[in-house]
């Protein structure tokens, strides 16, 4: 059997950064397994700018961000295999792998990093009524067709969902000559960055309908029209508010779900809110030696934070291989309190922290001027003032290790009012 110190499942931004960081912390014999025809993951189709402001201090496109990491990986001589699918990962860190080139194989690793990323929610996941013609795409699938394969997906387009991918595709389709008729968002606010609303919708005169959803799709072989309507507070369509668009294409940008089929087959504990594995301060899952990072753990909005998280996972995996990571029960479990939807990592082993723990979280609703507070029982461990919070932007709270020593039980993150 082929044995490695570290096997990384997935060659997107998380897998690349984890492998490079593990190498820099002393791991050798590292292998990345990637199912696509090239490394870089979803970055290769994200040809727009806005990547790398935190990691590289300059504004790059997705392919440029990916190429910087791929060059580094090749310079270090880290091995990778393309067109290779991981079928199963076992608790003893053996992996069942299949590819046209090598057939079926079982590989063995001392440590595994899971970096499979996420998938888009589809029409089936959100139950849109109407017929089932061609011309309905997830925004990411359309992005791959247009930006990489060179196919235009339609001429008259309606977009459901105002997440960043939907907004970016509204601009992209307009630039390529399509008429983008409307973007409908079921929530009363957009999950996308304001910058994208200004530069992708306003620049091209595309209307954004908040609190609207699709009530009907018509067309037998190809989409012929889409009807949207305003929704009430319970997200039910309000009769009489319908707007009909004659169009040939509907793009869906209605959320992303971490891709955890492998995590489930290993039997990792999953967090019901993030849909990703429960991880500790070292990005290690509930099975020792199996780490996870990037969108498989929680859906990120900036690739820069994926890179940071993946570096932590890669470094920890190297420490595990070299016997430097201390195996112990976690002293602290993080909890989402008032106004907070989730916290990652879910577990903290204080002994393994070097300087601080970086808690990542999302809030439940948009709000302004709040304290983000970490409490252990009644005691405030750390608090930070936040001028602006929105569910679309991940927040973080760094807590120095000195403030955590001696604590046990729950560490709760919540939002509290700022006294006037």
């Amino acid at each position: 059997m082929n044995t490695y110190e570290l096997i990384v499942v997935g060659g997107g931004p998380a897998g690349l950064a984890a492998a490079i960081e593990a190498h820099q912390h002393g791991a050798r014999r590292i292998l990345i397994l990637e199912r696509d025809r090239e490394l870089g993951g979803i970055l290769q189709q994200c040809i727009h700018n806005g990547f790398g402001l935190h990691i590289f201090k300059e504004e790059l496109t997705g392919p440029e961000y990916a190429e910087r990491f791929i060059c580094q990986l090749e310079a270090l001589g880290i091995e990778y295999r393309l067109d290779t699918m991981v079928l199963d990962v076992h608790e003893d860190r053996t992996l069942d792998v299949i590819s046209s080139k090598h057939g079926f194989e079982t590989l063995k690793a001392q440590a595994v990093v899971l970096a499979m990323g996420c998938r888009e929610r589809t029409r089936g996941a959100i139950n849109i009524p109407g017929t089932r013609p061609a011309g309905i795409f997830t925004a990411g699938a359309a992005q791959r067709f247009v930006n990489m394969e060179g196919y235009m997906v339609g001429k008259r387009v309606v977009i459901l969902g105002s997440g960043d991918i939907g907004l970016i595709m509204a601009r992209r389709m307009s630039l390529e000559g399509a008429a983008v008729l409307a973007v409908a968002e079921i929530l009363p606010y957009s999950g996308g960055l304001t910058r994208n609303i200004v530069q992708c919708l306003d620049d091209y005169g595309i209307p954004l309908y908040l609190s609207h959803t699709i009530t009907s799709i018509t067309g037998r072989d190809r989409v012929e029209g889409v009807t949207i309507a305003r929704v009430d507070e319970r997200r039910k369509p309000i009769p009489g508010t319908e707007i009909h668009y004659d169009c040939d294409t509907l793009l869906l940008s209605v959320g992303l779900i971490p891709e955890n089929e492998l995590s489930k087959s290993i039997g990792l504990a999953l967090d019901p809110v993030t849909s990703g594995p429960v991880v500790n301060e070292s990005m290690e899952t509930t099975v020792p030696g199996i780490f996870a990072c990037g969108n498989v753990v929680q859906v990120h909005d900036l690739v820069d934070w994926v890179t940071e998280e993946a570096r932590r996972a890669g470094k920890s995996a190297a420490r595990f291989v070299l016997g430097q990571l201390k195996a112990a029960a976690p002293e602290l479990v993080t909890k989402a309190g008032a106004g907070v939807r989730y916290v990652v990592p879910q577990q903290i082993r204080i002994e393994n922290l070097e300087k601080e723990v970086d808690l990542m979280l999302r809030v439940t609703d948009p709000c302004k001027n709040k304290w983000l507070v970490a409490r252990s029982g009644e005691t405030i461990i750390k608090k930070a003032k936040k001028a602006h919070l929105t569910p679309g932007e991940m927040e973080s709270l760094k807590i120095p290790v000195d403030k955590l020593r001696g604590l046990t039980g729950e560490l709760t993150l919540c939002l509290e009012e700022v006294a006037q």
Partner: protein
């Protein structure tokens, strides 16, 4: 004439209003801002808005059919249509290196059209 804008300098997303005001040193009166950068953004956005443009061009002799490209710096927003027309006419021959200049000095400016990956 009064113009309403949403500031995109930081995540606060301030709602700004801007009015021409000859008595003001910068020629505009901006309200709704909470910082200095908001005023700068608003005046630039109204007088000379610029954008980075990203797209793809046809490539032959490479593994894929499309090469992603971008402008090396911002270009005037009103030039985006003309720039797309140039991009649509462009056919390049692989191999290409990331950062390679495909069209120099777009519209006589300092901005070049460059490849955003090696292919």
């Amino acid at each position: 004439m009064k113009r309403d804008l949403i500031c995109i300098v930081c995540p606060m997303g301030c709602h700004l209003s801007l009015e021409e005001d000859p008595s003001h040193p910068k020629g505009f009166k901006v309200t709704g801002i909470t910082c200095k950068r908001g005023e700068e953004y608003a005046i630039k956005e109204v007088t000379a808005p610029t954008r980075m443009l990203t797209s793809t061009v046809r490539i032959e002799g490479a593994r894929l059919h499309r090469l992603p490209v971008r402008t090396s710096s911002d270009i005037p927003r009103e030039r985006i249509g003309e720039c797309m027309a140039l991009i649509n006419e462009l056919h390049v021959q692989g191999p290409v290196k990331m950062g390679q200049v495909l069209i120099p000095n777009l519209f006589g400016t300092e901005a070049n059209l460059i490849a955003s990956r090696s292919l």
